[in-house]
């Protein structure tokens, strides 16, 4: 484990991106950040800019309008970068499968390291997914 990775594991910063879902998963991601579930105890902070982020948390199915923006955000993140798919929409298109503007699932377009299933998943599940990804960084 390099020294950069050591510190990254102590404070991975998140960027949350909703690529077109119903907002259910987004609310659960926000709930995971609140003091009740508190991902901050693992050093994780939600950040507003992809340039500061280590982990990209994507919720919702990838829509045609969002795809170029999602890719651009991914490209703006510094290496090494990790993508976590949260919710059945991001994993399989879920309830939106077959819609006229859905071009997902997410792993067709970006390398996904962890999948958190559920519609929406509970905040504990999201935290578990993020922790599993951190284990990999070791």
């Amino acid at each position: 484990m390099g020294i950069a990775n050591f510190f990254r594991r102590k404070s991975p910063w998140l960027l949350h991106f909703d690529s077109g879902g119903c907002n259910g998963c987004s609310i659960e991601v926000v709930a995971a950040l609140t003091p009740r579930f508190d991902v901050e105890r693992f050093g994780m902070l939600a950040k507003g800019s992809p340039r500061h982020a280590d982990i990209l948390v994507v919720t919702g199915p990838v829509t045609r309008q969002c795809l170029p923006r999602l890719k651009r955000i991914y490209e703006q993140m510094p290496e090494p970068k990790i993508v976590v798919a949260v919710g059945s929409c991001a994993i399989t298109n879920g309830a939106f499968d077959g819609c006229y503007n859905v071009v997902g699932p997410l792993d067709k377009h970006l390398p996904v390291r962890a999948y958190v299933p559920g519609c929406p998943p509970r905040p504990e599940a999201i935290i578990h997914g993020l922790m599993a990804v951190l284990e990999e960084l070791k």
Partner: protein, 141 residues
């Protein structure tokens, strides 16, 4: 207005009237005369069109206007032929309908004439012209 009062007000302009309870009225109007219905509603201080829904029924396109007549709801259906689905805008009477009409135009290809701002609203920027995703004949991927 109660359901019976709404029906009384619109006497002669609406057909196929159906009421559910005393707070819900379903009715149809012809494309030529539906604006008279709207004018009468305006005179009675009905100010709120809750939404407009467009339905592709295969042979024709139905446009359903949902009005809040406090406490009654009026669902006014106007049927349009599929080969030339054109209707006048209602934004001069109900300005809030602007976005609903833009939605009708891009999703179902209904031509709303005299609309103040007929640009695209929801569809992706690179969506092809002339493909209306909520039409029955459009193939879903």
């Amino acid at each position: 207005m109660k359901a019976s009062e709404v029906i009384q007000l619109l006497e002669g302009l609406i057909e196929e009237v159906k009421t559910v309870g005393n707070r819900r009225v379903f009715a149809t109007a012809s494309k030529e005369r539906f604006r008279e219905v709207l004018q009468r509603l305006r005179e009675k201080e009905v100010r709120h069109v809750s939404t407009i829904s467009g339905v592709d029924r295969g042979s024709h396109i139905s446009v359903v206007y949902h009005f809040d007549c406090r406490p009654c709801l009026l669902n006014l259906r106007v049927d349009l032929p599929k080969d030339n689905p054109e209707i006048r805008t209602i934004t001069d009477l109900f300005p809030g309908a602007e976005i609903y009409e833009r939605d009708l135009m891009e999703m179902l290809g209904v031509k709303v004439s005299e609309h103040p701002d007929p640009r695209r609203f929801f569809l992706p920027d690179d969506w092809p012209e002339g493909v209306y995703p909520l039409r029955k004949e459009v193939k879903q991927p």
